[in-house]
Symmetry: C2
Subunit: 183 residues, 2 copies
Amino acid sequence: MDSTRRRADAADNRARIIRAARAVIANADEIKLNAIAKQAGVGQGTLYRHFPTREDLLAEVYREDVDALVAAAPALLAEHEPLTALARWFDRVADYAQVKRGVFAAVEVGVWRDLSAHSLGPIGDALTTLLDAGKADGTIRSDVDARDVILLIGYLTRLEEAEWDARARHLLHIVLDGLRRRE
Amino acid sequence: MDSTRRRADAADNRARIIRAARAVIANADEIKLNAIAKQAGVGQGTLYRHFPTREDLLAEVYREDVDALVAAAPALLAEHEPLTALARWFDRVADYAQVKRGVFAAVEVGVWRDLSAHSLGPIGDALTTLLDAGKADGTIRSDVDARDVILLIGYLTRLEEAEWDARARHLLHIVLDGLRRRE
DNA sequence: TGGCTAAGCGGACATGTGTCCGCTAGCGTG
DNA sequence: CACGCTAGCGGACACATGTCCGCTTAGCCA
């Protein structure tokens, strides 16, 4: 999977699949994997070898967005109190999740897989950073970890478009309250 | 759908499907709808006419369990302070969700459907009762409703078996904290 | 009781995901 | 440059969900 051997066509196919995926996602709102394979001009087997699950593919397609989300964490911490930073980060997640519903679901699954592989993954790391800062200054309860938070905000993927405005941020506040250390 | 006409065979088929579903669920852990149809001795079309989605079927199969959960709410309120009652009710939900993972997911979807039909459904009603009691005595924030809570505890369906003990109750406490009115 | 009518049946079909495996051809080697 | 090894290809296949529609037959009515 690194860069050894047969890279020429394999890497090329991989890139073509990602490009096709972006195209399909942009044009159709239905994301059918075999359609992506077809569009990319490769067999289904090829697609599935490069990206074993739907989530693997989407995670790769939106890697940049994820990176941006991750990078935001330390930046927010530099500017705000830990609790505020976490709240702001939540806001960004909400913004992103609203637009890219399916993607967020994919990211969630990805984070979960990372976790079960005893690694937090980029998003998990970002969250850990935020939580640790809050624990250090006593504003966040000490018995929560990144996985906990991922689970709690997972409702974002199950929210209906119509109720988004009414509930997304509101529930994020409630979660944040639950995470705060109670005086 | 009530009890008019052609009830004889239709109702019979419906009952047979439910029975077959219970049998399949008990024996195999894989729940394949066409297997249930086969076992019930009916066509797939028949199964899907009676239960348009997988969730409809499961919800019916576990109707009794759901009823028990619903009935527990007023009973708990009679014995405990509202906040405690809610906590206990959460415990029951957790117990149930742990054993019947898939079912809980089905129930969640069902509740959601009820909600979009402008009705809370039995579970929603139970939760509303609990929340209202807490709001009345000022222990629960006034800006939450049943749907909010359903969304928040939905993480239960996404928890891995292995992490259940470590997280299920713990997160329920955090949610409860978030629901409390902050002094 | 015999016929009519639509409620209800049931399985073929359409669609989507994910797997498997025989074939192809890129690359290192002599 | 010719050759062989194996990474990688790609599409046929297996399997699940859910839909559709022509046929059957229960129940009402004369």
